[in-house]
Symmetry: C2
Subunit: 155 residues, 2 copies
Amino acid sequence: MPDPTHQGIERELTRLFRSGQHMHRQMQAPSATPDSLEKAGYLLLARLVETGPTRLTTLAEVACVDASTVSRQVGHLEAHGLVARSADAADGRAVLLRATDEGIALLTRTREARSRFIAAVVAEWPPGDRTEFGRLLARFNEGVARWSHIRQESS
Amino acid sequence: MPDPTHQGIERELTRLFRSGQHMHRQMQAPSATPDSLEKAGYLLLARLVETGPTRLTTLAEVACVDASTVSRQVGHLEAHGLVARSADAADGRAVLLRATDEGIALLTRTREARSRFIAAVVAEWPPGDRTEFGRLLARFNEGVARWSHIRQESS
DNA sequence: GTGATATGCTTGTACCATGCAACCAACTCG
DNA sequence: CGAGTTGGTTGCATGGTACAAGCATATCAC
């Protein structure tokens, strides 16, 4: 039997994805070409900054996308000077990816724009709810990650 | 100056979108063809069930996507017998879309599968956190919707 | 009522993100 | 050294999307 709480979360997550998709399009369209990061590019760059210089395949694994996708994305980002490739001294086949200063700067700007948006959305929340929301989101993500991990190993 | 709470929410939302994208692919791939709803189809069908018989353009507006996209999606769903079109008595140009029983059933199944997944993720949460999470998500969506609405009107 | 304009929808075209498979290059191990 | 493995790129197919053009119907002005 379905638990209304879980259904409620499911419904709200669906809503969130809907608007998220829309926001992505909305937020980058108006802000000109040089400042904009495509959705995929943003996610990739964010990861890259988090992890430091990383191999392409590693990045693909972490992001749970195909290596070919990452390869193309990186090509794109590289063309805009946001990431740089360098040879991996330990393995001639591998490439090490790192974000350039410009890439970091752009990521930072994008993040700040998003944070401002979020700040606007939660502006009138009680402060406790804000931190609580962050905490629960983090925990939820944690749970999803764990589940994905299990799935992956068992398959 | 950036508020760490907002940045934290931003970060977690980013994570959530990442895994959400992945989950979509993951969750429908294994469950065979007849049972599966493509991501866009799911969202569309869900809306349609929420709103009852609706015009195509209305649906497009609500979903914030182009009418052509909806047109194609509907064509797809119709081909699978999940939605039906009928002429609008009040306007010969318009089509009224409604979910078929089969569509509703499939949507229900999909929703339940998702709810089960969510239940698994939050299985070990204190019950209070679960309801709190649902509440905050709903509130956040509310805020996003309000903001989008403002944006739309002012542009 | 007839023509001009607006509206609802479909179709053509293009673009991006993605996965899979095929491929090449470099590494590793026997 | 040769066989197999791994890192990465590229070709191809698919799906979702937007924009523009087109068609059918409705509405309004006269």
